[in-house]
Symmetry: C2
Subunit: 348 residues, 2 copies
């Protein structure tokens, strides 16, 4: 019915106005700025209903209305239309990301780019090891009983570990067991998804020449450990200075808990949640269920399947900002950047 419909127009207008002005918005201002075709009095009635239903609230009696988390949620789900990126923005993305040298570089540029585009804090997760494949395994002998093992994935991520090895006793003379090991490992692992590395390890332990089994066992053990490490999901954060935009207005308590959470990688990883490529996830205020994230929203998406198919993501990236944020714009930026990063990683 037309009645209900207008009420939603009003809600949308409130969100838009509040996001852009950061002032509680009153009925008169709404009537003046948004062509709703009715008088302030009518709008007041609608607002009363919206407040009743929990979509907006008054900071105090004689002030205008402010969207609640529920209001933003409704706006994001039902009222916002996708806002395409401007040509300038598209160009910025390309200019910023092209010419990156290696993975670290790609990720740190991405984070800076996203922070700049959205004027908020940006966050990106390193490509998950277990969903990457082995590009190369390198073995360097540090001492008679210590090897340095370097794992390079197809996404360009590099991990290194020092491995204690048992002495090699029964090696055929004249060959370097480390060189043998290197060849063996690369033969077995290159191209293998790390999630399936367990199988390969088992295979290898059976088929490896007797005198190398000790080495293979030691190296494999470290490899599997590395994959299992809970902290292996590293994170890059940028644009924290943007938290101070709008003075202390946006984050009422203080920036403290937010800054702390951003340094506590685990927290952020949990907040980004299960990210799918192509599907932008928005968590608003209390939905984040983390003290200190009251007043903050997280917009995240997975990157890494160039096709935008339903593959699992290599990792997530996203933006953290005040609930009072430009959702359509942020979502568009996040989506576009993720797509571009996915391409970059796929082709490198």
């Amino acid at each position: 019915m037309a009645h209900e419909d207008r009420r939603l127009q009003v809600l949308r207008a409130i969100v838009q106005d509040y996001v852009s002005t950061n002032d509680p918005v009153g009925s008169k201002a709404l009537a003046a700025r948004y062509d709703l075709g009715v008088s302030p009095a009518t709008i007041r009635n609608d607002m009363a209903v919206l407040e009743e239903e929990g979509y907006i609230a008054q900071p105090h009696t004689s002030a205008g209305r402010v969207p609640t988390d529920k209001g933003y949620r409704f706006f994001v789900d039902r009222l916002s239309q996708v806002k395409p990126l401007s040509a300038a923005e598209r160009r910025a993305i390309e200019r910023f990301l092209d010419g990156a040298l290696d993975l670290d570089d790609v990720l740190s540029r991405t984070v800076r780019l996203l922070a700049q585009l959205t004027r908020n804090v940006a966050v990106i997760q390193y490509p998950t090891l277990s969903r990457s494949a082995v590009r190369h395994l390198e073995v360097v002998q540090l001492a008679s009983n210590r090897l340095l093992v370097v794992l390079i994935t197809d996404t360009g991520r590099v991990e290194q570990r020092v491995v204690e090895i048992p002495p090699v006793t029964d090696a055929p003379t004249g060959v370097d067991p480390v060189a043998e090991l290197r060849t063996l490992l690369n033969g077995a692992f290159v191209g293998v998804k790390l999630a399936e590395a367990g199988l390969t390890v088992a295979d290898l332990l059976d088929t490896a020449p007797q005198h190398l089994r000790g080495l293979v066992a030691a190296v494999s053990a470290t490899l599997v450990e590395t994959l299992a490490e809970p902290g292996e999901d590293r994170l890059l954060v940028g644009g924290t200075a943007n938290l101070t935009r709008g003075g202390a207005l946006d984050f009422p308590g203080s920036l403290r808990p937010l800054l702390e959470a951003l340094e506590e990688q685990v927290v952020v990883l949990r907040l980004m949640g299960e990210v799918d490529p192509g599907h932008v996830l928005v968590r608003i205020g209390e939905e984040n269920a983390h003290e200190g994230f009251t007043g903050a929203s997280v917009v995240s998406v997975g990157y890494g399947s160039a096709g935008g198919t339903t593959d699992l993501a290599l990792g997530g990236l996203g933006v953290v900002g005040p609930t009072r944020m430009d959702y359509p714009g942020t979502m568009a930026a996040v989506r576009a950047v993720a797509r571009y990063v996915g391409q970059l990683l796929a082709e490198s």
Copy 2:
């Protein structure tokens, strides 16, 4: 003379009191808390002289005195005695840093540790490439015209680059030119300080077998480029949440410029200045000569020469905080952590 001497006691007391209470300190409070053996009236006279000389200032007429940058400088240079770390702190350092897996891990733990010990922002620079030596060079063929070159230094730093190579035409049949290249490069470079890599490159270009020269040239060029990159000095920052301690009291303007500077790696690198191992450098307020660092001090030191000799540092680490900071404690923490990190990197 005893006169002059007491005045310095007063200055010291003012600094200590102000650092611990964050309130401008008055003559009465000083007399009560510090056993100076004279009455408030006398202290007032001394304070008048100190103010005259520019060591302290009054925020406004009817308030106590606050140290100026010059006052802090004098305190650091002449009045503070070294404060040894507590046993608990020593233990914390060991507990925190032992068990680090690789270089990234060492650095990120260090930064967290230092932030926690000093309750301020901590900063650490990756070991400078040019002062490291080559531990291993790895070459992987990605495509017929593209190689992945991985450089591993003795400090555990790993850099990778993709190199476009010319086609190899006149290779002897039956051998893999990439394997040859790998052996050649490692033979030539392992153990060489990267600062001297230029010489080795020149040598190699002369002595390498004809059919490999194209490859060697391409790889060497990339190597030299990597070293020359101005941005190669990466930086890790932690503990930014500590900036919000003491509300907005410490950093009058806002956190904004500071947070921005901390993300702008170049700025911080410049602020840390030329770091020597074993010699803690303190820059106070305006001495940093960077807008936004008014009210901030930087305490930095080089790490990486285990012996504490006059060798060049591998990199710098330090702390950024309000000028109103516990200098003796911070300097002790910075020095101790740097020494420990130096050891860790040397033995790995």
